[in-house]
């Protein structure tokens, strides 16, 4: 469960003051798959980092699993937008995936099994012994995803996790994430720029305005729980929902937030 309550975040360093998050309030109930879309630079990453306990809010507060966040909460995993930099260059791919499991004192054999499974799931079977910098961008991003999946978190925050992979792989990963979500009952906050993806994946799409960001719209995605790439995307309801999201985003762009409030 995630609760964001009147969150406000101002960056003020090196002579530059930016109010990234204006006033943000929303709740993601336990086990929900929520997608977040919003213009570039609106504060999505900032929101995720605040939820992950990596950044203190300027005012307001966030709660994860009913606890006020002051440090990274247990059982939470993040796939960072800067996937390349979030992999340890001195660890081989498999060790990168296993490292969080070691911190949880999971036995070696089990760790190995979880890591290999996760790597296979993202299509990287057989790359375990490479270093991350020997992989292509999209492969690196998938390692970061594998790491989060192998961790079996209760809350998963993902920041544009499929930005660097091709369309086909992306579709596979989308289905993978949905199946992980369904199997583990994890609460998922998923940032993406792809509107189709947001609608296809989530039970809900939160649309953020430009910085200082607010919730511009919050849509329920009432598509059936069983989704697949062909039928769901062909569903007229899908088309309708994606048009609504698209229209809403256009509106957000057109109304600079300065005008309101």
């Amino acid at each position: 469960m995630l609760e964001v309550d009147h969150l406000n975040k101002v960056y003020d360093s090196h002579g530059r003051r930016v109010e990234a998050i204006g006033d943000l309030t929303f709740t993601v109930p336990e086990g929900q798959f929520a997608c977040v879309v919003g213009p570039s630079g609106c504060g999505k990453t900032t929101l995720l980092r605040t939820l992950a306990g990596l950044l203190p809010p300027t005012s307001g507060e966030v709660q994860v699993l009913r606890r006020r966040v002051t440090e990274p909460p247990a059982g939470l995993a993040v796939v960072f937008q800067e996937y390349g930099r979030s992999l340890f260059p001195w660890l081989r791919v498999r060790d990168n995936v296993e490292l969080p499991l070691r911190a949880q004192r999971i036995a070696k054999a089990r760790r190995r099994e979880l890591a290999d499974e996760a790597l296979a799931a993202v299509g990287l079977a057989g790359t375990g012994s490479a270093y991350p910098w020997q992989l292509s961008g999209g492969m690196q991003q998938r390692v970061a995803i594998a790491r989060a999946i192998a961790y079996q978190p209760r809350v998963l925050l993902m920041d544009e996790p499929f930005a660097a992979v091709d369309a086909q792989t992306r579709a596979d990963l989308e289905d993978l994430i949905r199946s992980v979500w369904q199997r583990l009952g994890v609460t998922l906050l998923f940032v993406t720029h792809d509107i189709d993806e947001a609608v296809y994946l989530g039970q809900r799409v939160v649309i953020l305005s430009a910085a200082p960001t607010r919730v511009a719209d919050d849509l329920d995605i009432d598509l059936p729980a069983d989704r697949d790439q062909l039928t769901t995307r062909a569903d007229p309801r899908f088309t309708e929902l994606r048009s609504r999201v698209y229209a809403q985003i256009q509106k957000v762009k057109a109304d600079p937030p300065g005008k309101e409030g």
Partner: protein
């Protein structure tokens, strides 16, 4: 690079310099600047196996002990200081104070506290060469990548795992820089430590030659120091390439033509 080319590059300049030295010093009558041929003759006479066993090996043993002490102590303290800015604020001025005190005037204090034996010399060597390791470790730990730090924090990788896989590994290029510096300094401090309260050692021998006005023998000792330095540096580079494989791989994977 072929082996031949590498050898040529490694030895070209030294051979040239030695040749120049040989030529420029030939027939020198200057008491303090004897001809290189004289020095080399003295080298052969001086550094016999007995002498090596009596003076050079004890020195190297103390060097090794002091260096390892500095390495472990410097890295440990460096991680502590680099990882916490309050500790850093507390300790830094004090350490800077200690760092600026010349070993020759500090040695008496060490003698006072720990006697005149090998232990003191090892401590002096460690104290003298710990600084590059310490400073570089501190800066390496401070300069770690933010995204990696955040990754560790969110996955709650703490304790020993964080220490090893985040702090030490990301500081390792700089730790290696410091350790490399420290190696040469350890050799220097070894010599200094043997100039006080010593009865054997390479530094002691060089000092005795100097005081006994055996100038060619003294220069041969200096020459030996340099040679030991080269050997240690080669050993160090070998170890470094092994430990930092990922680092050089990451940088060389993108090699130019």
């Amino acid at each position: 690079m072929t082996l031949l080319r590498r050898t040529l590059l490694a030895l070209g300049l030294p051979v040239l310099l030695v040749a120049v030295w040989w030529w420029a010093s030939a027939g020198s009558t200057d008491f303090y600047r004897p001809a290189l041929s004289t020095i080399l003759a003295a080298f052969a006479d001086t550094w016999t196996w007995d002498r090596v066993r009596a003076d050079v090996l004890p020195s190297l043993a103390r060097l090794a002990a002091g260096y390892l002490l500095a390495l472990t102590g410097g890295v440990a303290l460096g991680v502590l200081i680099g990882g916490n800015r309050h500790v850093r604020a507390f300790l830094e001025p004090l350490l800077e104070f200690l760092r600026a005190i010349p070993p020759p005037v500090l040695v008496p204090v060490f003698i006072l506290l720990s006697g005149v034996g090998d232990r003191t010399k090892v401590l002096v060597i460690a104290f003298g060469c710990v600084w590059p390791i310490l400073l570089n470790t501190v800066e390496g730990v401070r300069g770690r990548d933010e995204v990696l730090s955040d990754t560790c924090r969110t996955y709650r990788i703490g304790g020993g795992l964080r220490l090893w896989h985040l702090l030490l590994r990301s500081a390792s290029p700089r730790i290696v820089t410091g350790a490399r510096q420290a190696l040469a300094i350890a050799l220097i401090v070894m010599v200094i430590s043997e100039m006080i309260a010593a009865d054997n050692g390479l530094g002691f021998a060089v000092l005795q030659f100097q005081r006994g006005f055996q100038i060619p023998a003294m220069w041969s000792g200096v020459l030996l120091l340099g040679l030991i330095g080269v050997l240690l540096a080669w050993g160090f580079r070998w170890a470094e390439r092994r430990m930092l494989g990922w680092y050089y791989g990451q940088r060389a994977g993108r090699r130019e033509w």
